[in-house]
Symmetry: C2
Subunit: 152 residues, 2 copies
Amino acid sequence: MTSAPKLSDQLCFAAYSFTHALNRAYRPLLEPLGLTYPQYLVMLVLWEADGQTVKEIGERLKLDSGTLTPLLKRLEAGGYVMRRRGKEDERQVIVHLTDEGRALSEKAAGIPVELGCAMGAELGEIAELRERLLSLRDRLSEAGCAVGEPEE
Amino acid sequence: MTSAPKLSDQLCFAAYSFTHALNRAYRPLLEPLGLTYPQYLVMLVLWEADGQTVKEIGERLKLDSGTLTPLLKRLEAGGYVMRRRGKEDERQVIVHLTDEGRALSEKAAGIPVELGCAMGAELGEIAELRERLLSLRDRLSEAGCAVGEPEE
DNA sequence: CGAAATCAAATTGCGCGCAATTTATATCGG
DNA sequence: CCGATATAAATTGCGCGCAATTTGATTTCG
């Protein structure tokens, strides 16, 4: 008798609802900066290395141009980045921080700390959890198309 | 000098991209059933207990009527559930499985197993990770409005 | 060189998630 | 009993995420 899978047993639901809770926790912290959470992630990528192409940003965040193009336009409208066609290769668009965008990193510096406190978890626990999630993510991505073949 | 937070240091990004990877892994498994991942979660809730109100489903999944109402309408259009106004309290809408919706649980029974294999993780590891994510989620939710007060 | 294949962004369409508002029903207090 | 309050869904508006397609530039190869 194949009983239905239980919600409470599922790692997937735990990850799903944890992510949403994180999103909700970030919202009030990011709102004063005029950023959504995915926009914040893009800014993190640019603070690490300015002048990346849409493709490079997408590889880092695992997002495609369908998501990034409108998001970057909103960041541009907000005055945090500038989008320029590449000079050598006109297919690509290079994203540069504005002065304002660079300056924003100072205001955002306290956010991870604050979130860490809200979770009340130790740095070591956080780090370990992070590694496990990234490793499972990569295994899932590798499995990728292999998922789905019947067992018999 | 307050340097910008690093993407790679962040638990939040790990959770974010793990969740998206899970979503992508579920997609090809759920597509033959005609379900999206959030729809699958709703079905999990109903397979455990049929005849719940929109509110009850929302409490279980941490979703509100703005998300659930259109989702449930699509499930109804797909023939898996029926939505009925409550007889005692006409404010609430009670969601019932159809025969087809109940039958679907058999086809979905293999999905968690398949995903577990794709992640190549042990049951114990999965269970532990799940508990930690749920516990952090709840701590985040409790902190809730407390998040955001300045430190000085 | 020039057509075909490849590649980077942009666009389109759809389903979430959630804040904010609206509608309809139920309950409470005077 | 009736108006005020509270509650459950539904609705509206916006920003993702992603599949699929389109547009325009570049590379490949005959």
